[in-house]
């Protein structure tokens, strides 16, 4: 069933309509951006309801950042249209900018100012009155756990602190739509968890969130809907559970010492797998997608009973690579 139909991007009910569908969330219809001969984004359709989270999932160069730049008015679409918070990004850029917060991949806080002043200046530039900018800056410093560092120069900050400050900078004007380009790339697991908590709180408060990520886990944890992008195009859309169903859960990898045992090992593992196996003759590895109920001990025991010598067995979560392998291979594993 995974023919080219899954590549069709527009699964939103009612999203086929014209501009009447503009709402307080985010919409894109056939959005495309060409740099010289290269289409960085092509035929992108999005429909993100207010108060929901969309995860744009893809490798480097998939077009995620370009998509964000178009939606945040930083880059002009070559074709198609988009509306954010009910306003067209091309014709009503100023209205859009008044309602959004943007954190790009590069941290864009000023390293030569302290954290508090960074926020106050951005608050002023977001057209907040002076007192409101100051109050809001103090509020956000507390909320993002930066109180102790508030009066330190940003150049002394760790990566995680800069990310948090960057996020605070986006939140000054209480945006209704928030765009975060790979918010947790380069963060340690602890900082990542902290940031996720903050983002969940924001969304619970009614903020619409669009984030890009290379991590399947991040999209899974945060997003209501996921759009998988590859080479500028959307290759699959759905809720995290829908996508997980398609890609078939965890992976078990079994490595054997001899080439001759590869097929035999495959035969033993096959009953555990939810789909076809992949046998790699170079690394002498059998990879199988398995359901949550499969225990690795059972697999090892079965291999042992069959008298197959095993060099290594491991179980891992499906990665972005597995997603692409599954979603972009016609007739791939169900």
């Amino acid at each position: 069933m995974y023919d080219t139909a899954v590549r069709h991007t527009n699964t939103a009910p009612g999203a086929v309509g014209g501009r009447d569908g503009a709402h307080a969330g985010v919409r894109a219809d056939g959005l495309g951006k060409r740099f010289d001969d290269l289409w960085a984004v092509r035929a992108l359709d999005l429909d993100v309801a207010p108060g929901t989270v969309l995860g744009l999932l893809g490798h480097n160069g998939a077009g995620k950042t370009t998509a964000i730049r178009m939606l945040t008015t930083l880059s002009r679409p070559t074709e198609g249209r988009a509306s954010v918070a009910g306003f067209d990004v091309v014709t009503h850029g100023a209205d859009v900018r008044r309602r959004i917060g943007v954190a790009s991949q590069q941290t864009t806080v000023d390293p030569l100012l302290d954290a508090r002043l960074n926020l106050e200046l951005i608050g002023r530039l977001s057209q907040l009155p002076r007192a409101a900018a100051r109050r809001r800056a103090a509020e956000l410093l507390t909320r993002l756990d930066l109180d102790d560092a508030a009066d330190r120069l940003v150049k002394t900050f760790s990566g995680g602190m800069r990310r948090r400050l960057d996020l605070a900078a986006c939140l000054l004007a209480t945006p209704s739509v928030l765009f975060l380009d790979e918010p947790t790339t380069g963060l340690d697991p602890r900082s990542r968890e902290d940031l996720w908590t903050v983002l969940r709180d924001l969304v619970d408060g009614g903020t619409t969130l669009i984030l890009t990520t290379q991590y399947l886990e991040e999209a899974d944890r945060l997003a209501d809907d996921i759009v998988v992008m590859d080479h500028g195009r959307s290759v699959a859309t759905g809720t995290p559970s829908e996508l997980k169903r398609r890609i078939g859960g965890d992976r078990i990898e079994v490595t054997v010492p001899e080439h001759t045992e590869l097929v035999a090992a495959g035969a033993v593992i096959s009953p555990f797998a939810t789909g076809e196996l992949s046998l790699d003759g170079d690394s002498l590895t059998v990879t199988a997608s398995v359901g949550a109920d499969v225990r690795i001990v059972d697999v090892v025991r079965a291999l042992d009973d069959a008298g197959i010598d095993v060099r290594d067995v491991n179980r891992r979560q499906a990665t972005l690579d597995d997603v692409f392998l599954t979603l972009t291979t016609p007739g791939g594993r169900p």
């Binding site: 699964t11 939103a12 009910p13 999203a15 307080a24 969330g25 740099f35 429909d47 993100v48 309801a49 207010p50 108060g51 929901t52 969309l54 730049r69 945040t72 008015t73 930083l74 880059s75 002009r76 100023a94 900018r97 008044r98 959004i100 943007v102 790009s104 590069q106 941290t107 864009t108 806080v109 000023d110 390293p111 030569l112 100012l113 002043l117 200046l121 951005i122 002023r124 530039l125 977001s126 057209q127 907040l128 009155p129 409101a132 109050r135 809001r136 120069l153 900078a169 004007a173 209480t174 209704s176 969304v203 619970d204 408060g205 009614g206 619409t208 209501d224 809907d225 759905g238 809720t239």
Partner: protein
């Protein structure tokens, strides 16, 4: 996509929500915020001010006392002659401040943040301009005080002195916009230094800023006579009542330095401002 739009969306007016101010007032207010950012940078890195404070003093002392003895100026002392030249040279070098600052902003991606805010686009450039204008005012003040301390005097009335300062300010403003343009043309902040040494250094030196034109070889005399820096230095000297060296090539700018200087300054502004605005549009549009 499945819509999970149950979370309430804030629709009631929020006291902290941005208010749309009147365009011109907002532009000015935003520009002042950007200018404040530059001032804060100087507070963090005071060395940034060296080029408009210590450097001009150094030039006055270096030329006044080291080279001064070897340079003869008819009808007055070299130290009186020097101040007009150094004022113009310092303002010409004033283009590097904005060029470096803007090139750094572009490199660091800060500019993307500013662009995603509801500010007028030109507020960013105007903010840099206001901050640099303050810096060159400081430079002019420091230079005049250093001049007074080393024997320079203005021998004219308040109107001529005022015109000299107005002319210098206009030239300084022009050079800030040249620097603004340059900052958006170069690929990195480091390149600004390089261009400074191979281009601006010779331009300020092949002029009457430091030495009388008559002491140069014939071909260079032509270059120096048409060099705006020569006209400006001569104009400032004339307006201050300081010694002016003889005109060796009878070209209009040297015969009427004050009028020529006003024209040069207006011309620089008329070219540099639109070029900078255009370049800004190009660099921040993709």
């Amino acid at each position: 996509m499945t819509a999970i739009a149950t979370a309430p969306h804030p629709t009631s007016p929020d006291p902290t929500a941005p208010v749309a101010a009147r365009p011109t007032r907002a532009l000015l207010a935003d520009s002042l915020v950007f200018a404040r950012r530059n001032v804060e940078h100087i507070r963090q890195i005071p060395e940034k001010l060296l080029d408009v404070t210590v450097q001009p003093i150094m030039f006055v002392l270096l030329f006044g006392f080291v080279f001064g003895g070897a340079i003869a100026v008819d009808g007055g002392s070299y130290r009186e002659y020097l101040i007009g030249g150094i004022l113009v040279q310092s303002l010409a070098f004033g283009m590097f401040g904005p060029a470096m600052a803007i090139a750094s902003d572009l490199q660091e991606g800060v500019i993307d943040r500013f662009r995603s805010l509801p500010t007028a686009r030109s507020a960013y450039l105007l903010g840099h301009f206001l901050a640099e204008l303050a810096a060159i005012s400081l430079a002019i003040t420091i230079l005049l005080l250093t001049g007074l301390a080393t024997g320079w005097r203005a021998h004219t009335d308040i109107w001529h002195i005022g015109e000299a300062i107005a002319l210098l300010a206009l030239f300084g403003a022009g050079m800030i916009w040249v620097g603004t343009w340059l900052g958006m043309v170069v690929r990195s902040p480091d390149a600004v230094q390089g261009i400074g040494f191979v281009l601006v250094f010779p331009i300020t030196f092949i002029s009457s800023a430091f030495v009388p034109i008559e002491s140069m070889p014939g071909a260079l005399q032509w270059v120096a006579s048409f060099n705006p820096v020569s006209a400006l230095a001569a104009a400032v000297r004339e307006l201050f009542g300081n010694p002016v060296t003889p005109v060796t090539k009878d070209v209009w700018p040297m015969l009427h330095p004050v009028a020529a200087s006003w024209m040069y300054c207006v011309l620089i502004l008329a070219v540099a401002v639109p070029a900078a605005l255009h370049r800004h549009r190009v660099r921040t549009t993709d």
